[in-house]
Symmetry: C2
DNA sequence: CAATGTTTGATTGTGCACAATCATTTTTGT
DNA sequence: ACAAAAATGATTGTGCACAATCAAACATTG
């Protein structure tokens, strides 16, 4: 006999359901969609919301630092930040001490959004029905994967 | 006294590092980047690769079915599939029995890519240093989240 | 059968995401 | 001081991703 038990036949490796990558791709997009109704009333997109998370904490950051934290390059950030500048949420200005750097600084209209956003994380978390221990292991594994991939 | 232990001060909820959403967003993009060098030699993008995973398994699917599996709408799929059609990887044709449906069928050039792609999943998995039990719980949690979010 | 509603893709417009390239500024080595 | 190298953003071009709208084909109901 010697039929292999469940050896993952060569083709099975290429089935969508057996991929680890696809659930990440799908969950990431569905999560963004879950935020959308909350962010829409504030007039901002999900990547813009991530920029705000950093600015609400640090008040001021260079494009370089934003890119390092968010793992985004200037080709993504520059137009995104220009749109946020147009809405008076932040200012873009060169660092006088190093004219290569562009400093992104929170403006009052951007600061004002913080209090309207502070309930969003819990609203989203509630939708996922994760127990605290599940959430902990999930956080740990995501962090581990991110370090492996960067 | 009565200082709360680590009550997650209101502001902490809005710190990037405390978000669950960001790791998903970041891991998803970094995973796509990890695939990129392997997919580039085949001339395809990550979403196109996902379409192929389904076509290699099913040979023929409607746009509707592709969208249901991948959680993508026609605004994303139609131009993507047209690019894949131009490369002779697949054909797009109306179903004679229901003219609303468009049938996507694998063509020889698309079938030929399968054997060149079958090692990719393991190459990526190897980069992540996950133990089999870690991988199992991760799969389970991702699946759980996806059902919660859809 | 005719009117109504539903299903299915296509189209349009906006906003990322990223590779590749370029220009400017700063730093470093001599 | 000066040339070479590195750092930092901006720009350009391609390809998703998705909301909103539209059009055609099918199904349903009276």
């Amino acid at each position: 006999m010697a039929t292999t038990p469940t050896p993952a036949a060569p083709n099975d490796l290429l089935k969508l359901e057996n991929q680890l990558c696809f659930p990440f791709y799908a969950v990431s997009r569905q999560l963004t969609k879950a935020y959308q109704p909350y962010l829409q009333v504030l007039g901002l997109t999900y990547p813009q919301y991530l920029v705000f998370l950093l600015l609400w904490e640090h008040e001021q950051l260079t494009v370089k630092e934003l890119g390092k934290q968010l793992l985004l390059d200037s080709g993504t950030l520059t137009p995104l930040l220009k749109r946020m500048e147009q809405k008076q949420w932040l200012s873009r200005s060169r660092d006088p001490r190093d004219e290569r750097s562009v400093i992104i600084a929170l403006r009052p209209a951007g600061r004002a959004l913080e209090s309207q956003a502070c309930d969003i994380p819990n609203q989203i978390l509630a939708k996922m029905n994760l127990t605290p221990p599940e959430l902990d292991t999930l956080r740990a594994q995501l962090h581990h994967m991110l370090t492996q991939l960067t």
